[in-house]
């Protein structure tokens, strides 16, 4: 199954309308999810709030805001992501990222900047405690038992008692377990410790690769690291991240550029060409098992997303390579990922 997702980032957009328009367009194309990047270091609104605003204006598409883990409180972050899952009825994801600069540290004044590897280690701990807190309510904890006067069965709520290297959390969460069990975790796995954190905790890993060979190698490494940490590698989706600039007409790939394959740019691997050739690239990489899908960032948000949906996606659908409707309603269902078992629930009657 081919998985497609797009970024709906827009410079200098602070109100809801343009984000809603882009997410609806992506939903019309049947894409798995949209992402909205975030950072404390550059202009832009809070991404999770924006996608929460988008949730009631859409019905199927997955919503994946970036939420950083360095200066934020893990308890607040997990509650907000779980709430996005509640308000979207099971369509929430969370793109984890870290804040590495002293400039970002000065916005909080609590700790100095640290090296990326240490922060990604911490991001893994945040992912870990978030999963514990999402599980801290068993699915059937709310009982509303009138005869005994009990609203919940407190034996199905759990303190997580988490101790990490830089924080601890008692739990349980204040938010009941979200519809997906665990909202989908997305990590850019291109570099260093981020890749190890992705292999261990992510449901979706993004890889910025300029060649098929590079993408395939990173995917293999991620899958083997996932297996080493006790996961089923087939429960990890690896998507190639590309900037796409579809300004070059319907068919024309960049002249002299080998049919429109990605090439390096300061912002990451860039595809420049037409929607049809992009469909060709996607079909080829996916068909050869190089990646499970793509995460595309349009250079010109509205223009390129329209071309992507009406051109590239329509063609892939026509060729039977991409879905024409959403068979499920949750992001996990779009991605073909199962709902995780609760780590605290005891299977009864087996011992």
């Amino acid at each position: 199954m081919l998985h497609l997702s797009v970024a709906v980032d827009q410079p200098s957009a602070y109100d809801a309308a343009s984000y809603v328009a882009l997410a609806r367009l992506a939903e019309r194309g049947g894409l798995d999810f949209v992402t909205l990047d975030d950072s404390f270091a550059r202009p832009g609104p809070d991404a999770l709030a924006v996608l929460s605003r988008v949730a009631p204006a859409t019905t199927r598409i997955g919503l994946v805001p970036t939420v950083t883990t360095t200066h934020t409180e893990p308890f607040h972050v997990q509650a907000a992501v779980a709430t996005l899952d509640w308000v979207s009825r099971g369509r929430a994801g969370w793109r984890l990222d870290v804040s590495t600069t002293e400039g970002e540290a000065r916005l909080f004044g609590r700790r100095h900047a640290a090296v990326a590897d240490a922060l990604w280690q911490e991001a893994g701990e945040v992912a870990d405690v978030a999963a514990k807190l999402w599980d801290s309510w068993e699915d059937d904890a709310e009982i509303r038992d009138v005869p005994t006067g009990r609203f919940i069965d407190r034996d199905k709520l759990h303190h997580v008692d988490f101790r990490g290297t830089s924080f601890s959390v008692k739990g349980p969460s204040i938010v009941p377990r979200p519809p997906q069990g665990h909202p989908v975790r997305v990590v850019d796995a291109t570099d260093g410790q981020a890749r190890r954190t992705a292999a261990r905790y992510a449901d979706v890993a993004l890889v910025r690769a300029v060649s098929a060979g590079q993408a395939a190698a990173v995917r293999e490494e991620l899958r083997s690291q996932a297996a080493e940490s006790g996961r089923d590698p087939d429960a990890l989706r690896v998507l190639a991240s590309l900037l796409v600039d579809l300004c070059a007409g319907e068919h024309a790939a960049e002249p002299g550029h080998g049919g429109g394959g990605p090439r390096p740019s300061p912002q990451g691997p860039l595809y420049r060409g037409g929607p049809v050739d992009l469909a060709e690239l996607i079909a080829t990489w996916h068909g050869q098992g190089i990646v499970d899908g793509f995460h595309l960032t349009p250079a010109e948000p509205l223009r390129d997303l329209e071309r992507l949906v009406n051109g590239t996606v329509a063609l892939l659908q026509h060729r039977g390579l991409f879905r024409t409707f959403y068979p499920g309603s949750t992001l996990r269902e779009h991605l073909g990922l199962s709902r995780p078992a609760n780590q605290y629930a005891v299977t009864k009657g087996t011992s």
């Binding site: 779980a82 006067g149 609203f151 069965d153």
Partner: protein, 430 residues
């Protein structure tokens, strides 16, 4: 001559025994559809705003998670961002703690909500001194009582500096704040919010709380039990405004109240009595008593007499809820009440726990609400329904039209921002 019109807000029932979850009409406290229903109802009634409480640690009693009341709720700003999509005018107020958040991040979240909603965001500033709650956070620990308010005040000042930091034509300007609690610098990530500053709400009855409200808040959420109490509180808080260069109309006083309606006065009283019984189940009555007595009373009969043993003071018995003050004195008072009226444990708890309620026919309730405003005991009310999510329907259908006929409440939204509903000026830029 136009009359001063009242303001109305709706509280989404939270985690206390006000919310009757055992009623067959009670639906989910977590599904988005419940929030949508109550918010749409409030907007249909032309309410000023919709109000969410906060929880950062589940309450515990005798070392175990409290299981009798509604437990579990979503994170407020996220829910309100989604509600911005299904409402157009309604103000959206989130309670967020200033002790376990940081100014840059929270100012940004509220500015985002204000932008996404076109100027409808409000922040109910609360503080915590609770090490129990702190166990869920990086900063851990707690602040002593005095520091809670100095931090909150500096927090709010810092947020306002951040909201004002961009130029009027939308260029980020560097800011730097150095104070007792915060030393931060950089650039904010958003233009000034549509309201200038989101509306600031404060709840707090202490002297520090009243002073903080007078200096910094746009709305005070109070709980007063009578017209006389309300008038005294109103006069005291309004009097404090002048020293901060503020006019009496710059701060709205809105008590939280319950409303019970009936076709006749007798029917309304009957329904109110039934609601109080539902709010205080036999188990809830015993638990409330244990919080006063400080000991296990599970062997007592809730329909029997109060314990004749003396209470012990054990602050660790119940964690994560408001302290009840001098429990020994309360126990003495409750025993006297029980003896005098011949009340059982459950009846005593119901009688002693009386909240601010307006009970009667729609006409009688409308008249009483009007009187509170006319006699300067309130500028408006925050309604606290006992049912999720339909608990506001009857009020909006039956009382709001009467208030409108009498000229005591708006018949349309005149502006689109919460500040415009509340008649508050746009804050002056720093």
């Amino acid at each position: 001559m136009s009359r001063r019109q009242m303001h109305l807000a709706a509280h989404f029932p939270g985690v206390n025994n006000t919310t009757v979850w055992a009623d067959p009409e009670s639906k989910s406290q977590i599904e988005f559809s419940s929030f949508e229903h109550l918010a749409r109802t409030a907007e249909r009634g032309l309410f000023d705003f919709f109000f969410l409480a906060e929880g950062l640690r589940l309450r515990e009693h005798k070392g175990r998670i409290h299981d009798l009341d509604v437990v579990g709720r979503p994170e407020s700003i996220t829910v309100l961002s989604a509600l911005a999509a299904v409402t157009e005018r309604l103000g959206l107020a989130a309670t967020v703690n200033a002790t376990f958040n940081e100014p840059f991040e929270l100012a940004r979240r509220f500015a985002t909500l204000d932008h996404l909603s076109g100027g409808r965001a409000a922040w109910n500033v609360v503080t915590s001194s609770d090490a129990f709650t702190g166990e869920n956070f990086r900063r851990g620990g707690y602040l002593d009582r005095a520091d809670r308010y100095t931090r909150a005040a500096e927090f709010l000042d810092t947020a306002r500096e951040l909201w004002d930091s961009w130029t009027p034509d939308g260029i980020p300007r560097p800011f730097a704040h150095r104070g007792r609690h915060f030393d931060i610098a950089g650039e904010f990530t958003l233009p000034r919010p549509p309201q200038g500053h989101p509306v600031v709400i404060q709840a707090g009855d202490s002297d520090e709380g009243r002073e903080f409200a007078a200096s910094a808040a746009d709305v005070v959420f109070s709980r007063r039990s009578s017209l006389e109490d309300g008038r005294a509180f109103y006069a005291d808080v309004k009097r404090r405004l002048a020293k901060y260069g503020r006019a009496p109309g710059d701060l709205k006083i809105m008590p939280g109240v319950g409303v019970v309606l009936g076709d006749t006065a007798a029917e309304a009283q009957e329904r109110a009595a039934e609601i109080r019984r539902q709010q205080t189940s036999p188990q809830t009555a015993l638990l409330t008593l244990e919080q006063i007595w400080g000991v296990d009373l599970s062997s007592y009969d809730p329909d029997g007499p109060l314990p004749d043993i003396d209470p012990v003071v054990d602050p660790a018995l119940t964690q994560g809820r408001t302290r009840r003050g001098d429990t020994v004195a309360i126990a003495e008072k409750w025993r006297a009440l029980s003896r005098e009226k011949g009340l059982s444990i459950r009846q005593t708890v119901i009688e002693a726990g009386g909240r601010q309620f307006f009970i009667g026919t729609p006409e009688a309730v409308a008249t009483e609400l009007e009187q509170f405003v006319r006699y300067e005991a309130a500028d408006g009310f925050i309604l606290v329904p006992h049912l999720t999510p339909g608990g506001l329907d009857e009020f909006v259908d039956r009382v709001v039209p009467l208030l409108q006929e009498r000229g005591a409440f708006r018949t349309e939204y005149r502006g689109s921002t919460l500040r415009s509903h509340l008649g508050l000026p746009e804050p002056v830029r720093n």
